[in-house]
């Protein structure tokens, strides 16, 4: 198995799907000639041409809607929105059309579009470039939401999303494009539902997704080495729907749950996981579940304030220790 960077894995998935099916197209701002802000479509313009690798104007709601419209007739667009902050502008077409058209047409139409976009806080990009929108999209009925934490998932999730007949929002991360890890050499389709145990443990489960999986793994390592606590890390790569069974199984094993999320706590991944725990396995709990979330602020520019606003591995460690009364 070769190691690929996250962006290379995304590029490979595009390339394979576009080579297979002439109806698969890529669209977005600066994705063609320039190869994409994070290089995720590098070289595809030369290979597939301007009809299929489309540099769009800065018209997020417009080109997202255009992609959705084309999907009504069987085109399979992979739409890159340069940053989730700009996806706010496209929420109209994503929410009002893509997520609802199958239902409101009584099953006559479907919108099999893939919308990829990096979210999260990077380095000092400020309030309008640091949104974490996963919690917004995961609440939309009719929209699948996945969020890869490594290159293998990034590759396999696009592959499945392109084939899937539902609209899929793929929440990537600005800080992860250069992360390197193994990706199967053979074609690989990652499921759009479910979760993965990223590290086995018996004492506490840390639920995480996307970048917070890495905080959780780091935290689990510190907890094991320094405190004798064996944490299980569950990677919730699918946010809509969430894996009820996976959540129940892990909590039933460890009896403790911590959720590490990059967004603010309200109406988020953590609150949803907690609700599922309450519904599925409340009596398995030895301690109240806990969320490690961002502070309730728009992200400040100043580096010190910014770091204080978003959680990290140490915050996860501290949360777990507190739960154990240490």
């Amino acid at each position: 198995m070769a190691e690929l960077m996250y962006w290379e894995a995304i590029r490979r998935a595009h390339d394979e799907e576009m080579a297979r099916d002439p109806m698969v197209i890529a669209m977005g701002e600066d994705i063609g000639v320039a190869g994409g802000t994070y290089k995720a479509t590098q070289g595809l313009y030369d290979k597939y041409g301007a009809e299929r690798v489309i540099d769009t104007p800065i018209s997020e709601n417009g080109y997202t809607g255009l992609g959705i419209g084309s999907s009504f007739l069987g085109v399979r667009p992979i739409i890159e929105i340069m940053s989730v902050n700009f996806a706010w502008l496209a929420t109209d077409q994503i929410v009002n059309t893509a997520a609802k058209v199958r239902y409101m047409s009584g099953g006559q139409l479907e919108a099999p579009v893939v919308i990829r976009s990096p979210g999260g806080t990077a380095h000092q990009l400020g309030a309008q470039h640091s949104a974490r929108m996963e919690k917004v999209f995961m609440g939309i009925v009719g929209l699948r939401v996945v969020t890869p934490s490594n290159p293998r998932q990034a590759y396999g999730l696009i592959k499945s999303a392109v084939r899937c007949n539902d609209p899929v929002f793929i929440n990537e991360h600005e800080l992860m494009y250069n992360m390197k890890d193994v990706v199967p050499d053979d074609e690989y389709f990652h499921p759009l539902e479910g979760s993965e145990v990223a590290r086995e443990g018996k004492d506490v489960t840390i639920f995480a997704y996307n970048i917070s999986v890495h905080w959780a793994l780091q935290a689990a390592d510190i907890l094991s080495r320094q405190h004798g606590i064996e944490a299980e890390v569950v990677d919730l790569y699918a946010l809509n729907p969430l894996d009820r069974e996976g959540i129940r199984d892990s909590v039933s094993k460890t009896h403790r749950a911590v959720i590490a999320e990059e967004a603010e706590p309200a109406v988020g991944v953590g609150s949803e996981v907690m609700a599922i725990i309450n519904e599925e396995c409340f009596f398995e709990l030895d301690a109240p579940p806990m969320r490690i979330s961002a502070r309730n602020v728009p992200i400040p520019y100043n580096r010190t304030l910014e770091k204080a606003a978003i959680p990290n591995a140490q915050d996860v460690v501290n949360g777990v220790l507190k739960m154990f009364g240490k």
Partner: protein, 330 residues
């Protein structure tokens, strides 16, 4: 413009150029973080328009390429630099950064990072001016590529139908990041798009500050006299990449050379020298004085200012002690 005004304007343009170059260095030294969009090449646009308007009185709003716009409205360059350094003394108290310079005291209503976001805000400011009966105008500076955003069309229509006092200035530098205008935009002369909404519009050379100034005088007069919005397109060019993370590889050397030949500062300087209003030595000493002033006053202020306090992370999220939160002072 008299000779003294011209000399002052030249100095201001040169100041803006050197200020931005200093930002570049500070970014390379990692004193400045995040996205940094610089202005060199486009100076005649903001300087020409603001010379015709009333800085500090008229309202100005723009995108992320905003340092020079703020300074031309009257913002203290020290505070702008301190903002870029993320300091408490910065114009947005270190919370905003390069893309979010605000100086409301000087009626600089902000830099915004979402392309197209300021269009309706500018129209709204125009609406407020009209309601409140003032003689200010609302000036919106944005790029060419922003005009492909729905908000452009929605805002122009509203400004026209309600005759709002808004001057839309389009700094057409031919690119939206790496995409050249023909590849994204069906009609490349942007003023024509405004005509579609029945808005008075003009397109002039944005490298020649006197041309910009003359066109802006006409535009500002028109808007201030209550006739409704005006759209002024300035053709210009940015020298650097879109932001610090962009090397600008999508542009040819030849194209860049052609534009540098018509550098707004050089053009104006040569003209003043030809008219006998300035000598090369005057210019050199002006330049030296500016660079020294930035190094002596601006940079140390930014360097030595305190960071925001960690305890104040959540300040400014919501209004403090607003009685209505509890249903008023009953």
């Amino acid at each position: 413009m008299n000779a003294a005004d011209k000399k002052r304007l030249l100095r201001e343009m040169l100041y803006a150029r050197r200020f931005e170059e200093r930002c570049y260095e500070a970014y390379v030294e990692r004193k400045i973080g995040g996205f940094l969009h610089l202005y060199p090449g486009q100076e005649a646009c903001v300087h020409g328009v603001m010379e015709a308007a009333k800085p500090g009185h008229d309202y100005v709003i723009t995108g992320y390429r905003d340092h020079v716009h703020a300074i031309q409205c009257g913002a203290d360059p020290k505070k702008v630099m301190a903002e870029l350094y993320g300091k408490e003394t910065g114009s947005s108290k270190g919370r905003g950064g390069s893309m979010h310079i605000f100086d409301v005291e000087h009626r600089f209503m902000g830099g915004y990072a979402l392309v197209g976001g300021p269009f309706p805000l500018a129209a709204g400011i125009g609406k407020a001016i009209k309601l409140q009966g003032g003689d200010e105008i609302s000036i919106c500076f944005l790029g060419d590529a922003a005009n492909n955003q729905g908000s452009f069309h929605e805002s122009l229509n509203m400004a026209a139908v309600w005759e709002l006092p808004v001057l839309f200035v389009c700094e057409n530098n031919l690119y939206g990041i790496g995409t050249r205008i023909e590849r994204s935009t069906a009609v490349q002369e942007q003023y024509k798009r405004a005509c579609g909404y029945g808005i008075e519009a003009a397109r002039v050379d944005g490298q020649d500050i006197e041309t910009v100034y003359e066109a802006a005088l006409k535009a500002v007069d028109y808007v201030r006299s209550g006739k409704g919005p005006y759209f002024l397109e300035l053709s210009t060019y940015r020298y650097r990449g879109h932001s610090m993370s962009d090397a600008g590889a999508y542009r040819t050397k030849e194209e860049q050379q052609e534009w540098i030949k018509r550098d707004p500062i050089n053009l104006f300087k040569e003209r003043l020298i030809e008219a006998g209003e300035l000598s090369e030595e005057d210019f050199q000493s002006l330049d030296k004085e500016i660079i020294e002033q930035i190094d002596r006053d601006v940079i140390p202020f930014a360097e030595e200012s305190p960071e925001p306090k960690l305890e104040e992370l959540e300040k400014y999220v919501l209004a403090e002690n607003d009685p209505w939160v509890k249903g008023g002072a009953q």
